[in-house]
Symmetry: D5
Subunit: 150 residues, 10 copies
């Protein structure tokens, strides 16, 4: 059984049992975006969390080592380009990406926002003209730095 098989099983079982992602995150006391991404196959899941999550989903503890291995990450590009909900995030990047690059350089210097030392949060915020989705990308600034081991 590969990680992809396990991911598909988890996704189907969650819908069947009517469990929310939040309840799964709460069960392991981890941030909800991390937990959801991990269950969708983007992060290794440590043994204790894996045991709890598999139990809640009614799946065999034999899957613990598979969930614990570092996965091949990333989403099929067609999904990113086709699904309207994910696409809006891509569109924001297409419209504002170069501006964000300029401002990272202006405020921090030459470098990048890490996507590894990184967290994402999502919030629902009320607003007179309708609820808002607020997504926060929060990554360590890494300056271009020409370093070598010795």
């Amino acid at each position: 059984m590969t990680r992809e098989d396990v991911t598909r099983t988890i996704a189907a079982r969650r819908v069947e049992l009517g469990l929310t992602w939040q309840s799964l995150a709460d069960a392991v006391d981890r941030p909800v975006v991390w937990t959801t991404a991990a269950l969708l196959g983007q992060h290794p899941i440590p043994r204790p969390e894996a045991e709890v999550l598999l139990e809640k989903l009614g799946l065999s503890p034999d899957l613990v080592p598979i969930l614990g291995a570092v996965p091949v990450r990333g989403t099929d590009r067609d999904v990113v380009r086709n699904d309207p909900t994910i696409y809006r995030l891509y569109e924001a990047l297409a419209v504002y990406g170069p501006a964000l690059k300029e401002l990272i350089h202006e405020q921090f210097g030459d470098g990048i926002m890490s996507a590894i030392n990184f967290s994402v949060d999502i919030d629902k915020k009320p607003h007179p003209s309708g609820d808002r989705v607020v997504i926060t990308l929060d990554g360590k600034f890494l300056p271009y730095d020409w370093v070598s081991a010795d």
Copy 2:
């Protein structure tokens, strides 16, 4: 002269004059991400702001109507995929996009985060292990809603 020509001219002139994006935003009292994106060709710029910005950049007011027209938006995909600073944003989307989709649906129902009724902010936040880039995507939730004009 097309908008693309004007964008290239503005970009070159800004570097030459050593003006920061922030100073340009301040001059028109607009958010810095909006101003930068607009000067990079992603938004029409209203006449009063266009006049001020062109003057600060030492460019002719004849360009006002070109800046005022709605542009063709979007970034060349090769740039999104190649430049490391922009790529990290894309990578975050490839890793966390499906999780964000799931959580938008769980917290708001079926729909999307608008990228039109939308703003982006970027902040520099200190942290014991190094400064962090914090990017906030803030869009109105739009529920899938089957409406027709009559």
Copy 3:
């Protein structure tokens, strides 16, 4: 079982039983384009409608939760580019898309026609030189609006 599996099963069963899309739409009193798109995997189907539709198709009510989850939307691009019937819609877009963009901006200002607060209708209209397919895309205008939660 994934949503894709269910979609394939529904499509095959409908042909087998000789049911029209219209009859399925009538059974749940929903617009026919919405019903067809939903059965083809593009919308979640609420429990009451799902129960009726599955019964008409002679399929198990166990599939209700799968039909109720928000799906990953979108069509394989090769299908859009290859099938002549779908391709004509794409061709219309390739020829008239930029003109429609210009006119949306001229009539409404900077913004988009929503594809979320949106409906589609299809009609058969007689004409001396032959029946015509009339497709109406009807979406709320969303002005570009720089709003933030706080």
Copy 4:
């Protein structure tokens, strides 16, 4: 001078002179979508209309033959995929295209909606929850028909 050069010149001149597409369409008494698409290089423009339009735009009548030749049609795919306003039309097609195909077949039989014997209209319609863009695609149904010349 190629048609592309003429198109670029027309687009720039229109912005400069502040002419609306509607006023150009009115000047030649043609539908506004047709006129806009034609000026954007998608249709040949007959001599009388070409002469009027070039005069309104302050351009030389020498361009009449170039406007009169049948152009190579179609939009750069990157524009279709990147610009948010045009993209929404593509997204509607990605979500509803297969449903429209099914319903064309159900209502008309095997065949297509012509994109040649075809017109497009755009309307602004008021609605309690906000103005709506209503785009009508109107094409002759062409049944698959195995005909040969003799």
Copy 5:
């Protein structure tokens, strides 16, 4: 069972039984290109023809409704580009396509050759320097015509 499955079964069975496409076309008294294309999944096959063809191929009449539904048409592009026999047709189009476009416009005006009101024929013609494949594409001319339903 999907149409693709049925197509694969038909193709395998035909080879096994050593039946020619011509004999299948003769059995239903239809043009051989139409019959071959239809059995390869490109056209719906009416009930009477489907019954005859399935019987000749020793397949179950239960497949009649699947053959009768309008299929998703088109060939995988990799096949078009890779198989030398099909590729030669594509090459002819790459070399002569723009010339044919010019001549359609010169002889008929602005418009297209329909691929729907259309037939294809293939013939073997003797020639002193070797037999020739003669393929005739025969489609109704459709002038660009801006028509609407009302």
Copy 6:
């Protein structure tokens, strides 16, 4: 000056002078598809024909050697996929290509229709339901034949 430059010049000049492709073909007594394709850059043009054609187009005889060299052939794929008139030919290939392959093999054996020992003709044929474009592809059959020089 490259062949592409010459092709562009010829195309523009022909429109300017209002010359038909047929009249150019007649001037050199060559088939019209060959002449059009050659002037669009797909074939070398022998000196005598080149001299006549350049004179009719009012262009310098210095271009004779450029027209005489074997060109890099082929059409930009985006044009093939985007322009509706050329696209219909591609669509016919996508729908009927595999059937034509099968029938070439059935009638001639394993091999291809040459696109080199080849001609194309286009005809306008009347038909009760409207004029038809008849395109004839006529190529020598080349059997797969494992031959070597010695």
Copy 7:
């Protein structure tokens, strides 16, 4: 069973039995490149050869008709671009292809080297600085020739 299935079975069985391609070619007294390509699914295999080869591979004679049908030819492009051994052939083409085109035209006139009336040979030749792979592509010259059936 499709030809692809048979090809996979043959490939696996050959490794299992430890048979060389040369021994298979010898068994049917055919050139080794032809035999290998044919067993890899690129050529139909006549009945007598097919019977011998299947017997040597310990496979059922029922596969004879499948091996005898003309296959869909060509290699997955990703394989051509990814596998280093095949890629070197592609690289040679990328570096020397245009030069070979020029020299074919200089030595033979306008036309191509046939890949149908064609053979390939591979040899191992000693050289002081190391053994050399010598691949000979040997195809009939086909002049561009505008011929038609009548």
Copy 8:
């Protein structure tokens, strides 16, 4: 001036002056495929050869250093895929590439035919059924060998 500019100039000048590639190769006493490829921008040209070639082409000796620098090699893929003469070489690779890979491994072991320690030759050979193009690819076998510097 870049190497690409020089290549274009050389190509145009050669046609203008009516020089054959062979005569240019003879002038520098180098193999004709090497010389043609080098003049088409695929190899650096040593000073003495560069001086002779530029003189024969009537170009300035100032270009010597540009011809002497190692170029960025490779051909635009669209050219490889579109031009029929070059495409046949690609097709041979698509049909016979995997067979050649198998036979290189069978005759030499695991490794590749070098495209660097490599030469190409082209010959015209008579044959009863028509002249043949014989292209010889001749490269050193390089075994996969896990070696490191220390």
Copy 9:
């Protein structure tokens, strides 16, 4: 069973048994990068090593011949572009590739670093600001050399 199947089985079994790549490399006394790559399907594995590795993984010795055959090499490009850990290596190449090309030419002359007579090593080196991954690519320089067999 194909090599891909065996690779998948090995990967799953290794995780299940909790074996490190290093322990597998030690068991056959081979470099760890070579062993890992070979088990991931990139190199043939000689009989003695294959026997040991299969035993440690608890897999059948029947797989020895499959592991011993030369595989089709290379990684799916989507994996290279999507997985962040592999992508960083690609990014380094995108940023520094042209510089490395220039310096290979400056230090060695015209040619390449072989990827066949080649080894890779990976090391963990401490550094005051954090452990470093040090990857060494070590390949024989191959000068462009126009050699032929005779």
Copy 10:
């Protein structure tokens, strides 16, 4: 003038003046890979180094601000895939990338080798069987770490 224009000018001028990359690196006392990459447009160049380099290349000090701005990084993918010298690096990645990923995870845990806190070195090392190119990629290990600003 854009950075791309400056890069092209620098590249041409270096060849003209016959300056080595090493001599340019020595002039600013920086590592040669960094200097070459920077001059090829991949890094901003600080004022003092820019002044020295421009002077050595005989270019105007007015270009200092352009060299000092953070560039859009990355190489055209066609170059990476086509040029044999750069391609070998890509091939090494295609063959060994997944193995390196596995070993980074085994030796360091879940994370990546930074390409930002990173250096590259290239060395010429003698070896009995021929000089070797040794390229060292040296990047800080960054563990996946879910951190947020507050």
